[in-house]
Symmetry: D2
Subunit: 303 residues, 4 copies
């Protein structure tokens, strides 16, 4: 099915009002947050972010690079010797360069963003609507891990391999969990190890396994609030239709769902398996950049 047709069918435009800037995060209600707290049983905590440094996933040739960290205050010798010292630092970073969050202003087609907002709201000064500042502090609730390869008795998926709605069903059954309204869904493909374990940045970005277009309806029916994956773009690449990022179009622009990319899920999957738990508390805070279209994020899981 063409993504425009599907997008019209699954559209959430107007569902939470004309002025809405939260999209599917509206589904993460206070009730859901209270329930999410009940997913904390043993108090084990983990961070799902890649390190931010010059050895990050980005190639030197793309339009996104790895961050540059500089120290801006070191002790001035010899005046400071023996006394109080403090150190400061600064960072230049592409907001989409590592573990990150796509804001609703990140994706448009046919001239429009989510909720029918004209893409002209995004200028060199940033996004005056649907910017990332609306999302920061909101993505905190029940996380659910669906480990696709593990549910199929494999370690990881291969490049270009689609994850279908049926695959999600199977992984859900394997996890013994029911994905429902307001959940923060983490879909593991195993693809990030291409970079984290094998250091092959070229291969990592050339293609990827990921969600195919059929999963949009699945996510919509369950009223999932947010989906993230351990690949660079959530969705399978290349797409079946050959379109550029058709699932981004439907999820972000039509349904109003922010996406999480390059989440580190391998350790999480091992811990989840050893604990026999597929749900947990998840908090995805990033930078409250005014008018930002994305942000690096350090997702914190607590079992």
């Amino acid at each position: 099915m063409e993504h425009r047709t599907l997008g019209r069918e699954l559209s959430n435009w107007g569902r939470w009002g004309e002025a809405d800037q939260l999209g599917t995060l509206n589904l993460l209600t206070p009730e859901r947050r209270v329930e999410a707290a009940r997913s904390i049983h043993v108090g084990i905590s983990m961070d799902l972010s890649l390190p931010l440094d010059e050895h990050g996933p980005q190639l030197t040739t793309g339009s996104r690079g790895n961050p540059v960290h500089v120290m801006t205050r070191l002790p001035s010798a010899p005046a400071d010797v023996g006394g109080f010292h403090y150190f400061d630092d600064a960072l230049f970073l592409h907001l989409q360069g590592a573990t990150q969050l796509d804001a609703l202003a990140h994706v448009a087609y046919d001239g429009l963003l989510y909720n029918g907002v004209d893409l002209g709201v995004v200028t060199t000064s940033g996004a005056t609507r649907l910017g990332v500042e609306n999302l920061v502090g909101r993505i905190s609730g029940r996380g659910v891990l669906l480990d696709i390869p593990r549910s199929q008795g494999r370690d990881s998926l291969g490049p270009g391999e689609p994850v279908t709605a049926a695959d999600l069903d199977r992984a859900e059954m394997h996890a013994g969990v029911a994905v429902g309204p307001g959940d923060l869904l983490l879909v593991r493909t195993g693809w990030l190890a291409t970079f984290t374990e094998r250091g092959d940045r070229e291969r990592f970005f050339a293609a990827e396994p990921g969600l195919d277009l059929s999963t949009a309806r699945w996510l919509h029916e369950r009223d999932v609030a947010f989906v993230a994956s351990d690949n660079w773009g959530v969705e399978v690449s290349p797409s079946a239709s050959g379109d550029a990022m058709p699932l981004h179009c439907v999820l972000v622009r039509d349904m109003g769902m922010p996406l999480g990319e390059m989440f580190v899920l391998d350790d999480l999957a091992r811990t989840a398996a050893s604990l026999g738990a597929s749900t947990f508390h998840l908090s995805c805070a990033g930078l409250r950049v005014t008018g930002g279209v994305g942000t690096p994020v350090s997702p914190v899981v607590t079992f």
Copy 2:
């Protein structure tokens, strides 16, 4: 008392091993995290960070500045018209410029950092020990708000006004809470409104109300894991002794406690008062900058 003497008395060096890089975050145990989940009752969520943009608190004349946000991908007309678009952005930021976290490598005196680590581990390449990457994802537990001015029937404290251990006791009693091991303590002074409401950056940085040296023993006795405030440096400035940042010296370097600065606490205080709740779940995730000595942070509270 001189801060060196006090620092020796309250020192946590070696308490969690010679190689420890977590300091008082060791006190935030799995048990504490499980208990923290019980602080979530109504599911109301808030973010405690300042916006990251050119209108931030920094003066143009200091060594820290406000962030520079640039868009690095906007649609190229006319080729993209009608099709899929995405936007990217980048940020240059001083890591200590707004709502932020001091890593244990941020502060030294007499040539040493926490746990006796030589300050030479911090070079132009960053910190090879005690960097902020050790903390990210760890500061998630029970938050407690002590609202100093409110406990005294006032709106805010004045510049240079100390918050003493006795003031903490009084605010604790007023809040009807017992601050204990592993707690994440937020101390409200009301000072941030100097910038957020009155826009007076000069006055904001010239001095500040904050914790005085007597609070170090209080924090140590309670085994607090982390303390943050709504001022620029947690501690009162100028200090009583005239030393530069004596409480930083004791808390960060001797006790191994990370600090949170410029936390936005006014809305939190109003919500806490209206809910009659001084405890909540708090998650302070920042950027996992390898070797960073600090990070911007977006603290997420859930009542």
Copy 3:
């Protein structure tokens, strides 16, 4: 006259070949460079650039900001004391933020750049054609100062005041010089003092005196290689037609002439007057940024 009509008349497209990337800098021939050397008589040298620091001309609210300078290497105490030290630094800068050069890829209209190049050559990766790397090292020849207000017995022009072809004629006569092929023309309006002497950034950018559309033919007839001024955009603003930057359109896109902006000309004018010399050697080297559309520049004058 409408700028499109004028642009077609004065077009240099194809004049130096289909693949040309130098535009009017082709007019700065070896012969002209040899002649330029004869403008050096007394060996007095001056730099025409604004300082690059946080006190630069840019407002904090625009899409261009002032540069951020950070020290990235300071001595690490106490290890380095007594021995060899070196210091390093880094800079984040908007390339159009202060004294600067517009590359031919900086300006387009009707979808095309100079020589009919599609504007799609400029992407998030920079300009694959007509970038600033083609110009660096080329703008070195005979400089000529036309001091418009001085030729009219005034100190400076006012906001929105046009400089016409007749004004250039009069200033040329006043200077006792004949502007000719390959010359590097500096047009003084006195406007920069709005910022440099009176610190009024708002007024400086709100409008400006500068060249009007009639000067395009004048510059074309003389075969001037390059024109710069002491305002922010060379041309008068607002324009007579109400169009955005019509002279940029004709000069840069139709004629292929790079432009220099925010050149510091007040000291130069005083020196020129005291020496009775309106010509000099001028070298405008900038940064050889691959694919850059502009560069900061430090123009060096030698009388």
Copy 4:
């Protein structure tokens, strides 16, 4: 000879006054500039800088990196279609990362900079004395190329190979030129081809051929104003004594001579040989960064 002893002998401290910030650039007098103009005979012009982009010489692992270029203004579709467009860009760069100039504040030993200035003048805010803003626009005069390998019938020197005073004499004789007061000296070793032609960054930085300590007296006796080379540090590395950068110590700190590094000299050498000319006009303008300790530079040669 130990560099401290030599430094004392060749010291220029006080030679141009206690407050001097120009060092040997004082030797580049108006008379010299007038004479320099006589080196222009044929009007051929060249730029001696490396491109500034992500493919620069820096390794990803050092404290200096290659520049990051981002486009900050691209046309916003579809509003701009058909009309006027302009493009903007920004750059993050380490000032010492490619073809560059060391300011006098770049090097200290025994706690002092040139002219006895305390190294404490360089702080996180930059250098309040001896900064690069003093030099920009001053390095414009007669350039002389001494091609060391060519004078010895070779293509290039090898790593760690010293260039001695005797080698300079021999190259001078080969060039048929007398290096004298105020000259801007370019010493070719052929080493830069390790990076520019063979792309071997590791080898390029591991060691280098260059000037040894004996050349300091040679440069002092001739009253050379400035010396640059086609390696990363002007001087041979490792040094004979095993000291870190002993020639930097003598030239920059004791004699007050700015240095040029990573100058691209291979094309220049070929042109010079074909023209039979070893002298030319040279202008080395960089960025006027207030308090900078170095700057990228685009040296412009005119024969």
